[in-house]
Amino acid sequence: MTEQLIDIPVETVVVRPRRRVRKSVLPIIGGTLLLCMLLFVIIVPLLPGVDPLAQDLSHANLPPFTDSAHLLGTDSLGRDTLSRIAQGGRTTIAITLAIVVINVIIGATIGLLAGFFGGWIDRLIGLVSDAILSLPVVLLLIAISAIVGPSATLMVVVLGCTFWMGYARVARAVTLSLRGRDFIVAPQILGASASWTIRRHVLPHVVPPVLILAVTDVGVVMLLQAGLDFLGLGVQPPAPTWGGLILQGQPVLSTNPWQSILPGLSIFILVAGTQLLSQRFTAEGSIPLRRARTA
């Protein structure tokens, strides 16, 4: 029997994905913004002739782009705005990072312990974090400042001890999910100590999600921290900070608005940069919407 080939007309059907999966450019924009800002605050103070504290009353209150010696103008004491913003940026960014790092370390450690050991440790940690969550942080800082006087150290300590709950929650959840897995249980049966098991096998799983949360938090902490500088509860003058510069520019708002606008824009660029960068890690905007019916 000869096989008969049946010639069936085959229509080529091109299946198009309903939405093209496209790599978003937003994280790249965010990263670029952050990088430019960092380069700016690192390089500018190193240049010759840049002194954020030098006063020159004969060149006070210059608007931006009018004097080649003071590219972004000067404040009411004749101090160069460009150098003050760069120097202030160094302080603001360093303090923000310090606060985030302290919280990451405290939160990750606490979460690991709570998740690994469970029991009363877990319950105690839960109670403490609930109590801290119900404290208004700004008011707490105000209260302590009323006693010992406001200072940058105080602000770092207070904020460093009150924002770790998110990291603790993430670290605890990850650790709990690993509980009972072979690679956690086996070393302990073979006699490894709890601290070795945690460092060698649990920690590598906890670090990535905690760091992702930290990227998102940098913006939040920077806003709060700059707000406290603005209230005069953080870094004390004459050292410039972005928040402090806005406060300082407020009285001359009607005559020289750039004094407040430029440091404000700097905060905005940095915070928006971290937000865009953290888009890399979240699925924002990926939920499909039900199409409106046209009938």
Binding site: A131, S134, L135, P136, V138, L139, L140, I142, A143, I144, S145, A146, I147, V148, G149, P150, G219, L223, A226, G227, F230, L231, G232, L233, G243, I246, L247, G249, Q250, L253, S254, P257, S260, I261, G264, I267, F268, V271, A272, Q275, E284, G285, I287, P288, L289, R290, R291, A292, R293
Partner: protein, 306 residues
């Protein structure tokens, strides 16, 4: 249900007790307050005298019990700077300004966000969603105090349309309310949008469409009530935070609220006033959170059984 109520009330009381204790410990941590209040040149005798007058020479335990007893009678202590003014009066005078600002901003921010989320889901436009979420996020990337300063610059200094500082009439509310409400907007839009998206795939929604209901009727009438529940907790926490934490916005607009008194008290080291403010805010905090938790079972029958 009653057990839940009792447990929740006890929890609230416990939180307040912790705050009271923290406030007391803070007040005594630096040693005897009189040394802070007098000028550098004060003699030891003067310090001792003031400590005696303010009652700081007695044993700590006695002071603590005295303080607790005073609180129960509504006595929050006397301002260190102005001995004729009870600390609580100084705070209470300013409470209406703070509470009204917080409530109005909260209501407007939430209402606008609900409207925006409904609009997104009725039109089904991803472009609209991106506009709201990105606009809100960009606003959120600006610190409140900077956004406030920009508003003052444009609307008060530039256009002379609105008063910028202090309270001179109902128009004074406009700028601070815009500042706070726009800052909260994107939080609610994000939450509501994802809650509505989640609801839209549920069977009851498909059924409602099958019955021939319009998109608008389904979104508003069927999906919204369910989508609002997850927002409740967040909204409660935000409201509580606003009642205590508008200090920065109050400072920008020289708003005559609690924040202003507290900042003045910090600069004069008047801890009695700060202590009273901290406690009043903590009480509002606990009460609002309690109210939200109690509202939950009323609105959502599923919670009643838990």
């Amino acid at each position: 249900m009653i057990r839940y109520l009792v447990r929740r009330l006890l929890q609230g009381v416990l939180t307040l007790f912790c705050v009271v204790t923290i406030a007391f410990v803070l007040g005594r941590a630096s040693g005897k307050p009189a040394a802070l209040l007098l000028t550098e040149g004060a003699t030891a005798q003067q310090i001792d005298e003031l400590n005696g007058r303010l009652g700081f020479n007695r044993p700590l335990g006695e002071q603590y019990l005295d303080y607790l007893g005073g609180l129960l009678r509504g006595d929050f202590g006397v301002s260190y700077r102005n001995p004729s003014a009870p600390a609580i009066t100084l705070i209470a005078e300013r409470l209406p300004a703070t509470i009204s600002l917080a409530l109005i901003s909260f209501a407007i921010g939430l209402t606008v966000a609900i409207g925006a989320a409904i609009l997104i889901h009725i039109t089904g436009s991803t472009r609209l969603r991106a506009t709201f979420v990105w606009g809100g996020s960009l606003r959120q990337a600006m610190p409140d105090f900077f956004f406030g300063v920009v508003l003052v610059l444009i609307l008060s200094v530039g256009l002379h349309a609105l008063p910028s500082l202090g309270f001179t009439g109902p128009l004074s509310y406009v700028l601070p309310v815009i500042t706070i409400a726009t800052g909260q907007f994107v939080l609610y839009v994000r939450l509501l949008d994802s809650a509505l998206s989640e609801q839209s795939t549920q069977d009851y929604v498909v059924t409602a469409y099958a019955r021939g209901k319009s998109q608008a009727a389904v979104v508003v009438g069927e999906m919204l009530p369910n989508a609002l529940l997850p927002i409740l907790t967040m909204a409660g926490m935000n409201l509580a935070g606003l009642l205590g934490g508008t200090v920065i916005v109050e400072t920008v607009f020289a708003w005559p609220g609690v924040g202003q008194v507290l900042m003045q008290a910090v600069s004069t080291r008047d801890f009695a006033v700060v202590q009273a403010g901290l406690l009043v805010v903590a009480i509002m905090f606990v009460v609002v959170n309690l109210a939200v938790d109690l509202l939950y079972p009323v609105l959502d029958p599923r919670v009643r059984l838990a």
